[in-house]
Symmetry: C2
DNA sequence: CTGGTCGGTGCACAAGCGTTCACTGAACGG
DNA sequence: CCGTTCAGTGAACGCTTGTGCACCGACCAG
């Protein structure tokens, strides 16, 4: 059988226009995609090497040409997932910084990214607690990076710019937590637009509530 | 081999002072405890009937005398876990309602319960996304109940008592989300007191920030 | 005392798992 | 052109898995 796409690619026959490294990368991507899909029922630890291989269209042992173990595959998936998450953060940051509707645009960017990268968000939400220890700590580390980034962003805002850096991080932690909860509720909406809209509206109100709290907050001496 | 406690209980020999139903319940509890522990590495879907049986000290097929499947066992664990969670909520509610330190006492109750019921909290945090569909929706349903309960509690507070019920639920959702995040961070602290204390202190500040936000919030007309 | 109930036993089976090993042949560098 | 590299092959291994079945014997109601 041929890898990557069962009916079209021909490994032993005439060469497509692809170099050897290109074909290897293609198979690698197929493995990642298959694992992401298979992990949706039962989590990463329930993904079997043989299932992935069958799904990709290669023999089980060929898996080892790309990853040493399922756990290493999981770490690669974490990387992949946080690439799209960072893309989202970039979008949020580059949005119109008109203070008034910064919340609206951020929530919209979040809902769109969750819809577009559903698989990655699901993976992170799941493996954050269910994954192998190495995967869990990789995810935790990445989330912590996001919090620190947000804290430095907040420091540039007119209200909290006079805060203790301690309080800045605490607020960032609170916001990231709320965003994670919102993302998880969006996932639970399973694509139903009305449910998604309700979650988004709720998130807007919550962020506004937090904003009101922040604007009336004074760091203790 | 004998169930419940390998060296002491004797099934075929002289009877301990236990009736048949008592012995069955004891075995059932042992199965639940074993499953909870085994689920810690790999999640519920990675728990095998045979492992549980070996751990409890019964033969694999005897498992079916208590549960039809691992999934049904999972639902029983959800029930068990939310029993302790409700006990926690009762403790929070019955605490001294002196408005000033209601936050301090709530956070202390939370940290104590997470420490005492670590296994249950871990189970909920994990299976909320990684578990079988039935388990996931059972957990989601229970959390939603907690949010509604909290909303009715909030309605009795001096500040938000004039709010729209819509906003009350939104605030309850925000608080529950923050509490869930805090519980998850307490779990991530893995029992190290200094880390736990830092999380608790952060949670106190966050709840105060939300309180400030709530006190300055006005429901839109 | 007796007969039914039922938790626990022991064996068997087919299916799936990760991993090993020697192999093939297209793509590539010199 | 020719030798090397290496992604993918295919058979084989020892193990664990869920589940079906006939069976046992302590408990308990009558």
């Amino acid at each position: 059988m041929s890898p990557v796409s069962s009916p079209s690619a021909r490994p032993g026959a005439a060469a497509d226009g692809l170099s050897r490294v290109e074909r290897k990368e293609l198979t690698r991507q197929s493995i990642l995609a298959a694992a992401l899909r298979l992990a949706e029922t039962g989590g990463l630890s329930a993904v079997s090497l043989r299932q992935v291989a069958k799904d990709v269209g290669i023999v089980p042992t060929a898996f080892y040409r790309h990853f040493d173990s399922i756990e290493e595959l999981g770490l690669a998936l974490v990387d992949e997932a946080f690439v799209s998450l960072r893309a989202m953060l970039r979008d949020v940051r580059s949005a119109d910084p008109a203070f008034k509707d910064i919340i609206d645009s951020s929530v919209r960017v979040l809902t769109e990214h969750v819809r577009a990268q559903r698989g990655h968000f699901l993976f992170i939400a799941r493996e954050r607690f269910a994954g192998p220890a190495a995967v869990r700590s990789a995810i935790r580390h990445e989330i912590e990076l996001c919090e620190r980034e947000l804290a430095t962003d907040l420091a540039r805002l007119p209200g909290p710019d006079a805060w203790a850096s301690e309080d800045l991080y605490v607020l960032a932690n609170l916001i990231v937590g709320a965003v994670v909860s919102t993302a998880e509720e969006l996932l639970a909406a399973e694509g139903r637009r009305s449910a998604e809209d309700a979650v988004a509206e709720r998130a807007r109100t919550q962020l506004r509530m937090m904003l009101v709290g922040a604007l009336n907050w004074r760091s203790r001496p």
